[in-house]
């Protein structure tokens, strides 16, 4: 009984703030406070006409998609090497590439700013943010993909090659389908981390900000708070849809591979 109370309290603590988002997104008042004053969709219409926000969202989506693809690719290379190859100093190297996981982001952001602007003399753009996001996301991708590659029987690829396939087509026909659920999880994690990353984006964004940076700048004007709530509501809905799709894909992959479902990412 006490455990049940605890569980309910925990869930309320986790989700109540998020539940407030849609409530105030549809509330007809600029001040975020109870009692609610009426229903409106004005804030959503305001979103639709805010072109600066559109640019910011586009920037963020582009950065997040590129980050997801690049860091998952790098993660696959590292995880495959970690699981299948033997080379000197392997444990040390594998540990070293996981290090960005614990580096404070502000340190990464400042040092990258120095490198990009002062030393290399490049301008800031979406690509500088992508580079930095790949840096912080790759360790997460490696961690997720490691699981997928460790479970893989190393004889699988050899068997495919033995049956006449080249090294690459053996990878494509056998390894790739078997690690696909891991790839989906990895891309999803990288996408999510990149999409709402603030500190690095704040330091490294060029002329046009990313979505989190733009939201932060909007907060200076109390009148725009409900618009932020509306944006938040859309993002939450989007995350739920995205996670559901990923979980369906993962389960389908597990069933196809005949692996016993150990409860994945969700």
């Amino acid at each position: 009984m006490r455990l049940r109370v605890y569980a309910v309290a925990y869930l309320v603590f986790l989700y109540a703030p998020i539940a407030l988002l849609p409530i105030f997104a549809f509330n007809d008042a600029t001040i975020i406070a109870f009692p609610l004053s009426g229903f409106t969709t004005d804030w959503f219409s305001a979103l639709a006409t805010n072109t600066a926000l559109h640019t910011a969202v586009k920037n963020s989506l582009f950065i997040a998609v590129m980050t997801a693809i690049l860091s998952t690719l790098l993660g696959m290379c590292a995880a495959r090497a970690g699981a299948m190859a033997r080379f000197p100093m392997k444990a040390g190297i594998m540990g070293f590439i996981m290090l960005p996981l614990v580096l404070p982001e502000i340190i990464v952001a400042v040092s990258l700013l120095v490198v990009v602007v002062q030393i290399m003399g490049w301008g800031l753009s979406n690509w500088t943010i992508i580079a930095a996001h790949v840096l912080i996301c790759t360790p997460f991708c490696i961690a997720i993909l490691n699981g997928a590659f460790q479970n893989l029987d190393p004889s699988m690829e050899e068997a495919a090659m033995d049956l006449g396939e080249s090294r690459f087509s053996a990878f494509r026909l056998v390894t790739l389908p078997l690690v696909a659920p891991g790839i989906v999880s990895s891309m999803l994690i990288a996408f999510t981390i990149s999409l709402d990353e603030f500190i690095i984006a704040f330091f490294l964004s060029g002329a046009s900000p990313t979505m989190p940076v733009y939201i932060w700048s909007m907060l200076r004007f109390p009148a725009s708070l409900p618009v932020v709530m509306a944006l938040g509501t859309i993002l939450v809905a989007l995350s739920i849809v995205l996670l559901t799709i990923a979980e369906i894909l993962r389960r389908r992959g597990m069933a196809r591979a005949g692996v016993k479902d150990k409860g994945g990412f969700l």
Partner: protein, 361 residues
């Protein structure tokens, strides 16, 4: 008999580790050949160099008189059954078996399906084509792996400890099936195993390997009856070893054997180049016997005392102490009708025959 695979002076190093040492080997077409040895002896490495998964550091591998140095695994006329079977879990049984036919654009879809059905029938899995591969039992996975490798009609089928994951009954059944299959398809089989019984049962010839070298290469009977070294004799079957001293090597080899006295043996019973000096005499437990009351024999007898009795149902194993030898002799007796089981401490006589002795260094 025509040579199909030859290895000349093959060496393989992993860094400082010398995995294969000066391997010279010829494997004939249509032969059931086994590589037998304890784990880490290099037998799997040798198989993988034939398959093309490992290069050689030194030496030449030829298959069908073609040098394999620059031929990758996917272009060699070999197919492999892996220890883990490596059945692709995301494909059905039929798709697994048909995997090797992907590159065969000369075959129609129907022709491929017919080949798959034929291959499945050959391993006794008729009608399993539509099943999910991950839902199969160990023995069935083994059969799928066989069908998948044999559908390509390779010149050589390589089997890497294919029966080690099966339980005893299943293993014995598959041994017989593999022998039948090999005779049926006529393809050269190369089996890697650490199980000496499995190698004896299945092979035409066996290469026993120790520490990267081939210790002895012979047919199963010669290997069992006439081991050329103590290592081979110890690894294959059980053997009693008695200290001995070779006195003379002339028309026969004359030696003094502890506990048995003066013995003369033929040259076949010793490795080549046997000379006078200290040696060991080896004798298998089933070539010895205890003499039961009322039985007579015209063979040699030596007095002994029963030290230990292990009853196996069909067999009884006795340890019998004889004068002049520290270790008791291990003797295997069939439990024939009317034969009693002796008690520990019983006085008995051990029957032996010089013809079953081997003299080893």
């Amino acid at each position: 008999m025509t040579a199909l695979i030859t290895l000349k002076g093959v060496n393989k190093y992993y860094g400082d580790y010398h995995a294969l040492r000066d391997i010279d080997l010829t494997i004939n077409a249509g032969e059931f050949f086994s590589l037998l040895g304890p784990s880490g002896c290099g037998k799997t490495t040798l198989l993988r160099t034939i398959a093309g998964f490992e290069g050689v550091s030194d030496g030449v591998v030829t298959i069908g008189s073609k040098d394999m140095a620059n031929v990758p695994a996917n272009l060699r006329p070999t197919n492999m059954v892996f220890q883990s079977y490596a059945i692709f879990p995301h494909l059905s049984v039929g798709e697994n078996v048909a995997f090797g036919l992907r590159k065969r654009s000369d075959l129609t879809r129907d022709a491929k399906a017919a080949l798959v059905d034929e291959a499945l029938a050959m391993v006794g899995l008729d009608g399993y084509g539509k099943r999910a591969a991950h839902a199969l039992s160990g023995g069935q996975r083994q059969r799928v792996a066989l069908a998948r490798a044999l559908i390509l009609k390779p010149k050589v089928l390589l089997l890497d400890e294919p029966l080690s994951a099966l339980d005893k009954k299943m293993r014995e059944q598959m041994q017989v099936e593999l022998i039948k299959l090999q005779r049926h398809v006529g393809i050269t089989f190369i089996l890697v195993t650490h199980d000496q019984e499995e190698a004896l049962v299945m092979s035409d010839r066996i290469a026993v390997m120790f520490e990267g070298r081939i210790g002895q290469l012979d047919d199963p009977e010669t290997l069992y009856r006439r081991p050329k070294s103590r290592k081979v004799a110890e690894f294959i079957g059980k053997m009693n070893f008695l200290p001995a001293e070779v006195r003379a090597v002339a028309e026969t080899i004359d030696l003094d054997v502890a506990g048995l006295g003066q013995v003369s043996v033929s040259f076949e019973q010793a490795p080549e180049g046997m000379d006078t000096g200290p040696a060991v005499a080896g004798i298998r437990p089933e070539t010895l016997a205890v003499l039961f009351e009322g039985e007579t024999t015209d063979r040699m007898l030596v007095d002994g005392v029963v030290d230990e009795v292990v009853y196996y149902g069909d067999m009884t194993y006795y340890d019998v102490r004889i004068a002049g030898v520290d270790k008791p002799l291990n003797i295997a007796m069939k439990n024939l009708i009317g034969r009693p089981v002796l008690d520990v401490g019983a006085r008995t006589q051990v029957v032996w025959d010089a013809r079953s002795l081997v003299v080893l260094r």
